[in-house]
């Protein structure tokens, strides 16, 4: 009798448990710790047409690209400067961006990669196409391909890179030219841009030393 009572309780508890679990499919939150990253993507060599390509220098502003705030950004500057010099030498259009949080202007770009002459500067949060002339600036010059470097990887780079692809541009992402506050952000930015549905067919993952002008 006593045993039977316990079995009844156990049975009801089990039934409630089963009911709840069938009602609710497991979400990623339930499986969070067991999620494994896919293999690293292959980086591909790229040959640039200087006439139709623009280098997007995303948010290299001194307020955030500094050793105290995001040290991985200044660490990548020598590599990015090399790419910038090469791009300029080959007549590639260079476009700079800043953001409103924190508010930043053209003069705030870190000196080692600062704009020259009339290289354009646009300002917006994350998506540099939103509320700016960026699309017009690029299309007026006949640009069909953009190279995205900058920080934050999961901010300006992932958003502007994706938006560029959705606006019909080819997007080249140099993985050694993007920076975030930690490696998880950089990893999923790279993976996402290389694999995102509907737009990854316009994205090429590469590194600065695999870009030929």
């Amino acid at each position: 009798m006593r045993v039977g009572g316990w079995m009844l309780v156990a049975g009801v508890t089990l039934a409630i448990g089963l009911g709840a679990s069938t009602l609710r499919a497991a979400s990623v939150i339930d499986n969070w710790a067991s999620v494994k990253a896919p293999p690293a993507p292959e980086l591909k060599p790229v040959k640039i047409d200087p006439k139709t390509t623009a280098l997007l220098m995303l948010d290299y502003i001194k307020q955030i690209c500094n050793a105290e705030r995001y040290p991985r950004c200044p660490q990548r500057l020598p590599t990015v400067k090399k790419l910038l010099d090469q791009a300029r030498a080959n007549g590639v259009m260079i476009v700079y961006t800043g953001t409103t949080t924190p508010n930043s202007e053209r003069a705030d770009i870190v000196p080692s990669v600062a704009p020259k002459g009339d290289e354009p500067f646009v300002k917006s949060v994350l998506d540099k196409f939103l509320n700016t002339d960026l699309e017009k600036i690029l299309k007026d010059k006949g640009i069909t391909t953009v190279i995205a470097v900058g920080q934050l990887a999961q901010g300006a780079v992932i958003t502007t890179g994706s938006e560029a692809a959705q606006r019909g541009f080819k997007v080249i992402v140099a993985v050694d030219g993007i920076a975030a506050q930690d490696d998880y952000y950089e990893q999923y930015t790279v993976w996402h841009l290389g694999n995102a549905p509907l737009l990854s067919n316009r994205v090429t993952l590469t590194s600065t030393d695999l870009i030929k002008f």
Partner: protein
């Protein structure tokens, strides 16, 4: 004598190879692809109970089309979200919350999965991943006085990620139920949830929740 030269030559060749390898690896050092296998995700974000105002909230049902590459056989994780989304949709309609759909590619409103299909004159917009791009979505939301969107659908790392981000950037509050998004695999869902919970620039406008934790 000749043997000794051969040994020295081999040793020099090995040393030269090692130096070359170390130079070339340091030249491309410390990018994320080199670090790839060492990366582990941060802890899961907290999912929160949320109460919405039915009059100023819209439920966005994105790309629930039962064909690949949307909610078709190749993405069983999408089909698994439909029962919970059907309940959420029913709840939203009962409370008079606006429901807005999207489709992509060659599909139209009539292709949306029957269980969660549009009713009456619920709007359907058509665009790639970011449903604000080249659609009336922003206008529709403004005309209805919407201040909060609940974003569900597939792909998590496509329509959901971009439309939720786009909504936050346009000043809307964004609610993302984790059981309403789906991708090909968990890594994609995880990066979507993490990005929406922690992405820069969203300024705390995004709440991660579960569909049964949304109260109308």
């Amino acid at each position: 004598m000749g043997g000794r030269f051969a040994i020295i030559a081999v040793a020099l060749a090995v040393a030269a190879t090692m130096i070359c390898n170390s130079v070339s690896s340091s030249a491309s050092a410390n990018d994320i692809v080199d670090e790839w296998s060492k990366v582990s995700p941060p802890p899961a974000p907290a999912i929160k109970q949320v109460k919405v105002d039915p009059k100023t909230t819209a439920l966005l049902m994105l790309d629930f089309v039962p064909h690949d590459p949307y909610c078709g056989d190749r993405k069983p994780r999408c089909g698994a979200t439909l029962p919970a989304m059907k309940r959420l949709l029913g709840n939203a309609r009962i409370h008079g919350t606006a429901v807005i759909y999207s489709v992509a590619g060659k599909y139209e409103a009539s292709d949306i999965a029957k269980d969660v299909a549009p009713a009456g004159n619920e709007p359907v917009v058509k665009s790639k991943a970011d449903k604000f791009l080249n659609t009336d979505l922003e206008k529709i939301l403004k005309e209805k006085g919407i201040q909060t969107v609940v974003v569900t659908g597939t792909a998590a790392n496509g329509a959901v990620l971009y439309t939720a981000s786009g909504a936050a950037l346009r000043g809307l509050k964004v609610i993302v139920p984790v059981d309403g998004l789906s991708a090909n695999d968990l890594y994609e869902e995880q990066l979507t949830v993490w990005q929406l919970a922690n992405g820069p620039g969203f300024g705390g406008q995004v709440t991660i929740t579960r569909s049964d934790m949304i109260e109308f």
